[in-house]
Amino acid sequence: MVRPLGFLVGLGFITALVLAILTTPLSNEPNVAHEFHKHPKHLKLASDGILLPHWDQAQLQRGMQVYKEVCSACHSLHHVAFRDIADLGYTEGQIKTFAKGFQVPSINPDTGEPATRDGLPSDYFPSPYANEVAARAANNNALPPDLSLITKAREGGKDYVYSLLTGFQNPPANLPADLKPGTGLHYNPYFANLNLAMAPPLTEGQVTYADGTKATVDQMSKDVTAFLVWTAEPKLIKRIQVGYAVFGFLLIFTVLTYLSYRNIWADKKH
């Protein structure tokens, strides 16, 4: 009973699929944007890979400076607290001073009115806008995304962020009219639909690095991307280090279990 019924059901599905094949065109709709879209450039950082990665603290400090002086005008960093930047090599005193430089939302303790106060190490980086409506109003109706997780939240990760920052250019001459950047949009072949609301954010010499590094667009892009790799996963280096210990322990465990398995089965043909 099962077999004849199953046979009929199977024939039903197969017929529906054969008809689907016959009625589906074999060619794709041409996608012109694909031809202009570029794959991200590779960015090599000290925190890459699993062979002894580490945080390049000098680079992260420069990257944070770029974030603070440039990106933070529009982009928030919700998940990062001032206390977290101890990872970047700052002392407790430096963190307190750094936090003090920010005004964070608060309540007037006497009147209960909304107010602001100096930042504390336990505070999070404040948002540039009070809410989404304010953010869109200030940015031609585009919403600048939060950057805390950006290197994990985009295909291509850090490579994509670095490529996007350095990828602004004039549209190629053969770009079809409907793909040309409209008002308030900027051509960038690394962006999914080629035109992006963010204007090129970095210009040569825009920040002055304390360590004397020359602030080219490429250098600042690398530095801020490295910083954003850290904000996306502050526990990345620790994770790899713990991984070595756990893997090593389990490797010994597995060798021992293999030897005891061979030993127990030694006199048994199987």
């Binding site: 199977g10 529906a16 997780l149 996963e233 199987h270």
Partner: protein
Amino acid sequence: MSFPWAKPYEPQHPLMKWMDEKLPIPRLVYNATGPGYPVPRNLNYFWNFGVLAGAALMIQIITGIVLAMHYAANAGVAFNSVEHIMRDVNAGWFIRYAHMNGASMFFIVVYLHIFRGLYYGSYKAPREMVWLLGVVIFLLMMATAFMGYVLPWGQMSFWGAQVITGFFSAIPVVGEPVREWLLGGFVPDNATLNRFFSLHYLLPFVILGVIILHIWALHIPGSSNPTGIEVKDEQDTVPFHPYYTAKDGFGVGVFLLIFVALTFFSPNTLGHADNYIPANSLSTPAHIVPEWYFLPFYAILKAFTFNFLWIDAKLWGVIAMFASIALLFFLPWLDSSPIKSSNYRPLYRIFFWILVADVLLLGWCGMQPAEQPWVILSQLGAIYYFAHFLVILPIVSRIERPLPMPNSITEAVLAKHATDASSASATA
């Protein structure tokens, strides 16, 4: 039940004797996974995967319970609470990555376990009930994994919930009300997240219960083995402990090494970047893709693009997707061949390996956008999938001439060693 030569449990210590009279748990363990449970002596490494699936479930339950201590199932804060676990909870990043990748490891070992069953005919009499319960476990796992993926409340969580609950709206008349009832609203929202969290916590314990039945049903006839010949006498078997506890111990070691490498060195490889963007009902991701372990079924769903008879393409896809799993319930009766092991089934063995390639192809197609050649490949893949189980298998099992088989497990083992020895002496 066990074989007559099973070693009886004889407690020596007075405390164990006392315990055995009051609550004979040591007896149960002794007879189920101890020296009192005889097992075929010729099991290969593919028989490790049942224990590994159990280990994976335990890892998921333990890490999951710890995560639930820090996670908040509320649409307003769920995403941030996951980031709180990643950044502020002691070793929270480890627990969360272990749970994320533990789900993938669970599916990897369960898929190998299922394909082991398909190759060696483990679903055949007298083990049909073991197989049926296994399919129930697989379905429960899929439901649990889907709801778990919704909990971080990222973009893929939200849109995955939207798409998967959308399957129900393909059902005529009652579909849309059923979908709203499942979601607790018109779109996935706080009500959805809360009930998914509740069920995601409940279902693993239901799985655990069905696993106990699965093992119970297995212990009635005992394990199958690579020859597919049933145990005949004592020399065909070895006691579970220490022989298979040792072998499973080694298997668990290898499993943990792979699991740990994934968790610590590449934890996001099997995930989607979009799930690190908070859920947003106003912004649809460019490609909505389920987790890798659902991809073959997703490809089957998308393969149906033609309104055939009075059923539209979407409903065909949904029915076919559910049917692709439901047909496994009928497998013991679709395959009428009395030969269990594919080692002695020259024809079925070919189709088995085509099925493996087909499922991998469907998985690959499931990942791709709805463009050619992926559409036609998933259509051809889906045709083979249904043809394999519903057409080819019943015919093959009727016309196939099996290879000569040994008389017993021991004879097969000794023959193997004889050829090994002769080929070794020939090369020497």
